[in-house]
Structures are given as structure tokens and as C-alpha cells.
């Protein structure tokens, strides 16, 4: 019996999945870690690759723009997580409060999620550069906002906020649907009991909805954390990394998040090996985040 377990069908059924996985993920992944410790560049290297140990990692940490991108990504991720979750949870409360047309509202809030990040970045670039400065209200009350130097995308802090706004617009409806699923599954009896006790809507929120949807918060926090940390498409099409800013004495691209920094290190600076080293660091951070998440989930299950 045991011998027949791994028969021909077993291997035939697995083969396509394993081959695709090896070709696209495993082999490039192993190559990637190897390349991060070589002098790989985009120029032809007829004498072959030289092993350089951890030099690319050291160079990365010596590079002000990498440190800046790293810090900026942490700040962006933090702000983005908070904004997305507040907006999403607020919308979820609204569309589950037994109002009319709730299905249409849900679909409308969800819709931006289907538009790709790249396309979405162009839409918001138009809004920030063309629509807002041309609003009649703006020209009447705050004409200074319409000056080209004061546009949303012209200064560093507001440009980062612009990425947060565009990113939240894209993702909040999706996160909202996760909250909606959690809120709907709260037993109706709890609200009825609270009603008899004369609890206010606010008390319902604090004492029933929030604790009963705690599991959903773990999911949404993790999703928004990873999503924000990996942000690339909106960054490319909305700001392209600009405007330039001064950091630790040198001028660098002010809104270049980690994923874009990795891309530019490879394709603008042509340092493939160093780009690879940065992506290994990026990977390690993501592994740490995932481990934390798994550990938290395990702990939660025990408590339940």
C-alpha cells in the first residue's frame, strides 16, 4: 500500500505546478541571493562574476538615499495603515447601519480597488496638478495653493500625503469589505440585548462591534502593512520619486519608497548586485513581519 502512494499520477499531477514554481520562483530566488554577494552589473562581464561577500549590503547601508527610502517607507506604511483602516472601518460602520442602497454604496467604495495602481496614479496626478489648483474656490480664497511651487506634488511632505490619499482611495474599499463581513457576523441578539439595556450607538460600537471584530483587525492590519510596505505602482505614476529633498546634507528623491529605490538602483544606477542586496534586506523585513503575524495568530488561537 505504502509503495503506491507516490505513483505516476502523483508526479504527473504535481509536475506542472512544481516546474512553474522552480522556473519562476525558486531558481531566481536562489540566484538572487547569490547575485547579492557578487559584483553583478548590467555591463558585459566576460571574466565572470566576482564574489564580494557582504560588500553590497555594507554599500547599501552607507548610501544615504537607501537609508532615507527605508525610513520613508516606515513612515509611509505607518500613516497609510492608519488612514486606510480608519476610513475603511468608518465606511464599514456606515454601510452596515441598515441604510437604504447599502449594496450600491458598498460596490461604489470597492470599485477603485479594481483600477490598477499605475492607472490610478495618473488619475490622481491630474487631480493634484490640474483640478485642485483650478477649483474656483481655491482661486477665490487661497490663490497661493494654485502656484506651481505650492502644489500638492511639489513639496516632499504633501507629496507623501498625496501617495497616502491615492493609496487609501484604492485600498480602503477592499479593507472595508473585510470589516463588513466581520460586522455582519456579529450575532443580532447582542444588539437586541444592548437595546433593552438602553445602550447608545457609541456604546454598541465600543462594547460589541470592536471586540467582536478583533480577528478582522489582525487581518486588515497585516494586509495594509504588507501592501503599504510593497507600494510601487502608485509611487511610479504619481510622483515618480520626486520632488527632490535634502537629507543628511545631500539632495535625493523625496518620495522614493523602498520598492522604487530597488528598481532605480538596478535600472537608473545600473548596480544590479546592490539592487539585489537591497531586495534581500526588503525580503528579510517582510519575513520578520510575517513571523510576527503568525506568532500573534497562534497566541490568539490559544487565548480563544
Amino acid at each position: 500500500m505504502k509503495k503506491k502512494q507516490h505513483d505516476l499520477v502523483f508526479w504527473l499531477f504535481l509536475a506542472p505546478a512544481v516546474i512553474a514554481f522552480l522556473m519562476v520562483i525558486l531558481i531566481p530566488f536562489i540566484m538572487g541571493i547569490f547575485y547579492s554577494m557578487t559584483d553583478w552589473t548590467s555591463r558585459p562581464q566576460p571574466e565572470g562574476l566576482q564574489f564580494v561577500g557582504l560588500l553590497n549590503f555594507i554599500d547599501s547601508f552607507k548610501d544615504i538615499s537607501f537609508i532615507y527610502s527605508f525610513l520613508l517607507t516606515i513612515v509611509y506604511t505607518f500613516v497609510n495603515m492608519i488612514v486606510i483602516n480608519i476610513v475603511a472601518f468608518g465606511l464599514a460602520l456606515l454601510v452596515t447601519s441598515k441604510i437604504k442602497f447599502d449594496n450600491i454604496f458598498r460596490a461604489g467604495f470597492f470599485l477603485p480597488n479594481l483600477i490598477g495602481g499605475l492607472i490610478l496614479g495618473y488619475i490622481w496626478q491630474f487631480i493634484f496638478n490640474m483640478v485642485i489648483p483650478n477649483l474656483p474656490v481655491i482661486s477665490a480664497i487661497f490663490p497661493a495653493i494654485a502656484e506651481s511651487g505650492n502644489l500638492m506634488l511639489a513639496t516632499r511632505d504633501s507629496a507623501v500625503m498625496a501617495i497616502v490619499i491615492a493609496g487609501s482611495w484604492q485600498y480602503a474599499g477592499y479593507i472595508m469589505m473585510i470589516y463588513v463581513a466581520a460586522i455582519i457576523s456579529v450575532p443580532e441578539e447582542l444588539f437586541e440585548a444592548a437595546k433593552i439595556d438602553g445602550a447608545s450607538s457609541f456604546k454598541n460600537l465600543i462594547h460589541i462591534i470592536v471586540p467582536m471584530t478583533a480577528q478582522a483587525f489582525t487581518i486588515t492590519m497585516f494586509l495594509t502593512l504588507v501592501q503599504s510596505f510593497k507600494q510601487f505602482d502608485v509611487n511610479v505614476s504619481l510622483t515618480g520619486g520626486g520632488p527632490s529633498t535634502q537629507f543628511a546634507g545631500s539632495f535625493i528623491r523625496g518620495t522614493e519608497l523602498l520598492a522604487l529605490d530597488i528598481y532605480n538602483t538596478a535600472f537608473t544606477a545600473n548596480s544590479l548586485a546592490e539592487s539585489q542586496a537591497r531586495s534581500v534586506i526588503f525580503f528579510i523585513v517582510l519575513v520578520l513581519i510575517s513571523l510576527l503575524q503568525v506568532r500573534r495568530n497562534k497566541k490568539k488561537e490559544v487565548e480563544l
Binding site: 514554481f21 522556473m23 530566488f29 490598477g116 499605475l118 483650478n134 463581513a181
Partner: protein, 287 residues
């Protein structure tokens, strides 16, 4: 609802929600109205309705055959890549998940764990080596994977495999074994059992897998940029819009028309399949 005070509240909430709804859809509305103007009208007032809606067709006619955009052929390439990738992802992940669930051995556990663990690998760490690996494959085995449909589809099957296999695996675990045992007694071959009996049962999870992968593949920008490259006869819609926007900087009438053309297929699909799409995406997140 006997208490008049309670009746008042939903109305207020409805007004707030409706206001937010309009605000949320405003960017899309702005794209539509400005795709129907020329650039002078946009600068004059980006919030006014177009004077002549026919301008939208003139704009489309201007950009349709533009060498950067080539909307017809880009749309064809995006559709081909998305549909074929989805077809292979569902079949390949479904059959692999089934055989892994039904084979209770150490090896099958290790293989499953390998797929799941790979979910933390970000695209950035494999993107450069993937390109050089595909070049090596072409040089030594002769299969062209760069700048081809084959390379794109293989890549999406590989990148989509972990999550899809994981979701199928979870679903198949809940299907009772008796069905398959009865079929075996009737003389059904193993592969027949999967394709005749099991795969049709997987419809709900297949819908989720299709939605999650479909939206991601249709909108993806970085992978096509790296695999297909620039100046290729094959280009996807996001790639086409990026090329176009790069070539027509600040010509917002044309850029927004391109953006509109890129959004329309997804929005139409959403209007028809709304329930499945939302359900599928939420189900995918909770895994």
C-alpha cells in the same frame, strides 16, 4: 422603529454615506468628463461638463492607433495573457492541491509547505534574476521566454501558484473521500476522478482564484515591463498607458482618454460580476 428618534438617524447616515459615495467616485467622474474635452477646455475648467461629448470619440480616434498605445493590440495581449494564465493556474493548482491532499506522506507535506512558505517572497527579490535566468534558458535550451507570451504566462502561473494552491488545498480538505472511493470501485481512473468528479465540485473556490488572480494579472505593471520590455510588439494595457503618458507629458486630454480606455473593461466586468468579485476578494483575504 416605533421611536421616531431612531427613524431620523438612518436618514442622516444615508446622507453622509451618499456624500462619501459621490466623493469616492469623483475621481472616476473627473476622468470621464475630461476625456471628453480638448486640452484648452481642461485648463479652463477641469470640473465643467464637456461642451461636446463627441470630443471623447475624437480623442479615442486620436490615440487608438498611436504607436505608443496601440489600444486594440494591447487589449488583445492583456486579454490573452490574463485568460491563458487563469486557465493554467486553475488547472495546475487544482490538480496539484488535490493530489497533495489525497496523498498522506511526508513528501507531500514538505512540497505543500514549500509552496506556502514561498508566499513571503516579494517580487523585488526575484525580478532581476528571473530576467537573467530566462535569458540563460533561451541560450541553452532554445525556448524564448523573454518578450514572449510563453514567458509571461509561465511567470504568472509561477507567481500565482502559491496562493491558488493554498486555497484549493484548504477547500479540498473539506470534500468527503466517499465520493472518490465509490468512483474507484466503479473503475474510474485516478485522473478521471479529478477531472470528472472533483474539479466541477471546486467551482466556488475556483471563482475566488479566478477573481484574485485575474485582477492582479490584468493590472500588473512591473512584471510585463521586465519580461516584455519596451518597444515590443506585445504590450499589456498598463504598459501601453505608461508608455503613452511618458510620450505625451501633460497632454491630459489624451492621457485621460487612455486611462479611461484602460479602466472601462474592468468596470464593465465589475458591473456584471460585482457579487462574485467582492465575495471572491474578501474570501481570499481571510485565508
Amino acid at each position: 422603529m416605533i421611536n421616531p428618534k431612531i427613524r431620523k438617524k438612518p436618514l442622516l447616515l444615508e446622507v453622509i454615506t451618499a456624500f462619501l459615495f459621490v466623493l469616492f467616485l469623483m475621481p472616476i467622474f473627473i476622468v470621464v468628463i475630461n476625456a471628453g474635452k480638448d486640452s484648452f477646455a481642461i485648463t479652463a475648467n477641469p470640473l465643467s461638463l464637456p461642451e461636446d461629448w463627441l470630443q471623447i470619440f475624437r480623442n479615442i480616434a486620436t490615440i487608438w492607433t498611436d504607436p505608443n498605445l496601440r489600444y486594440g493590440s494591447s487589449f488583445f495581449a492583456s486579454s490573452t495573457i490574463t485568460i491563458l494564465s487563469l486557465l493554467f493556474i486553475t488547472l495546475v493548482a487544482g490538480q496539484a492541491a488535490w493530489i497533495l491532499v489525497r496523498t498522506k506522506s511526508k513528501l507531500s507535506q514538505i512540497i505543500f509547505f514549500m509552496f506556502v512558505a514561498a508566499m513571503v517572497i516579494p517580487f523585488q527579490i526575484v525580478m532581476l534574476p528571473l530576467v537573467s535566468w530566462f535569458r540563460i534558458v533561451h541560450k541553452f535550451i532554445g525556448i524564448p521566454l523573454l518578450r514572449t507570451y510563453a514567458g509571461m504566462i509561465l511567470s504568472y502561473v509561477g507567481f500565482g501558484m502559491s496562493l491558488s494552491l493554498f486555497m484549493y488545498h484548504g477547500f479540498i480538505k473539506g470534500i468527503p473521500l466517499e465520493l472518490e472511493e465509490a468512483a474507484t470501485i466503479d473503475g474510474c481512473k485516478k485522473w478521471e476522478i479529478f477531472y470528472r468528479i472533483i474539479f466541477p465540485l471546486l467551482k466556488p473556490i475556483t471563482a475566488t482564484v479566478l477573481v484574485l488572480n485575474g485582477i492582479w494579472i490584468w493590472n500588473d505593471y512591473l512584471l510585463p515591463l521586465l519580461i516584455l520590455g519596451k518597444g515590443n510588439a506585445i504590450q499589456t494595457v498598463p504598459l501601453a498607458v505608461a508608455n503613452f503618458a511618458g510620450a505625451y507629458v501633460k497632454q491630459w486630454d489624451l492621457i485621460l482618454t487612455a486611462v479611461l480606455l484602460a479602466m472601462i473593461p474592468v468596470i464593465i466586468l465589475f458591473l456584471f460580476l460585482q457579487r462574485y468579485i467582492i465575495k471572491g476578494m474578501v474570501a481570499g483575504s481571510i485565508k
